[in-house]
Subunit: 226 residues, 2 copies
């Protein structure tokens, strides 16, 4: 499948590397590819420059957001949640129309420092904002409740015995996403229902960031024991 991943941070890289390894034709979208490749310093999250990662992943193309979206059959929003609506506008409604759009972002607001708060919550979610802004995209919220490494290698934590959630209004789109998740190694996938259930998964972030502090590792995830 042709997959376009919007975002060059650790989440975008992790998803691009794994889907490429699984045989998909992967493009990463960014605002300005030349500028992205020209950076020589670690980003604000401490990730190495994109060019360093890209040297080991030459099979992944780097294009502008709109070109990447046009090329992709399935799109992943792996941008910073605070910038996601703008990134998707740059990708363009035409490039998203009719396609499955996996939203893995969280609307975290770090403007007051740590811990972050949520820019939208409880009566709305980033996923629903995206769906309203791009009504022809088939938005599925997934993978936003764990670290980038755990997203694509669930077996790296507790032998994979933990849970990933999906939310969305389009049953076929969710089925496509669930197949992709299973190809990553996910065994416990819970379909929570329509896209409004993404409010619940986005609101997991406040406890996630506190657990990160207490456990001193990002190698953890929620499991729904039952």
């Amino acid at each position: 499948m042709k997959i376009a991943i919007l975002g060059t941070g650790s989440v975008g890289r992790s998803l691009a590397g794994r889907t490429s390894q699984l045989g998909h034709e992967v493009t990463i979208g960014t605002r300005d590819p030349a500028a992205t490749l020209a950076r020589t310093e670690p980003d604000q999250m401490g990730n190495p420059p994109f060019a360093t990662w890209h040297r080991d992943h030459g099979d992944v193309a780097l294009l502008r957001f709109a070109e990447a979206a046009t090329r992709g059959e399935l799109i992943v929003n792996a941008s910073n949640g605070a910038a996601s609506l703008e990134v998707l506008r740059l990708a363009g409604a035409a490039g998203l129309a009719g396609k499955v759009l996996i939203d893995v972002a969280n609307p975290l607001d770090f403007s007051s420092g740590f811990p972050p708060t949520l820019l939208v919550k409880d009566t709305d979610s980033l996923a629903e904002q995206i769906q309203r802004a791009f009504p022809q995209a088939r938005v599925v919220k997934a993978l936003n409740t764990m670290n980038a490494g755990v997203m694509v290698h669930p077996a790296s934590v507790a032998n994979g015995d933990h849970t990933v959630f999906v939310s969305g209004n389009d049953a076929h789109a969710k089925s496509t996403v669930i197949d992709l998740l299973r190809s990553f190694g996910w065994r416990d996938v819970i379909d929570l229902g329509d896209l409004s259930t993404a409010r619940g998964t986005e609101m997991l972030l406040p406890i996630w960031v506190r657990l990160l502090g207490v456990l001193n590792t990002a190698a953890f995830n929620f499991r729904v024991a039952r």
Copy 2:
């Protein structure tokens, strides 16, 4: 230990029954004991009338909130989250002063139907509101992330292999609560830190109510896999 449980619903009954069974001297607090005992209809959550439960738990006293609080060495707020501040005012600051106060309530707002929203969230929590209103109480948030039955019999789900969180500003109070939780059978207790971390556990409720709908049972809980 003398334990006072404020609230006569399923959570209050569950905690009262279990702590009494474990040998504690338990009092349930209510607004008007005579009125509580006079009810003959199921409550709005479908629980049998309190008197029915009380016939099998004659060792648990039923007193007014203030009398119960005065008698208790450890207090549990098991009232409806939307009413908790009022209930605790009726219990009285004097009766709470210096005591461990376990807050198991959630600030759910059902005024717009299902799913409920949260009356307070993200930048504040019910637990912090209670701590500010009763600065001499030693508030510990715990047990608010699972069903009443699971709270006191964790082994009833997945052999007890799941997690309970505690939040609070007073290390000794948390230690007392953790001992009580272990006596219920809890093995995985995560101390998240100060009381502001209760924002995270209260914000688990939106996904909890959706899981209740999808799983068709309340016999589940979150486990932090790591």
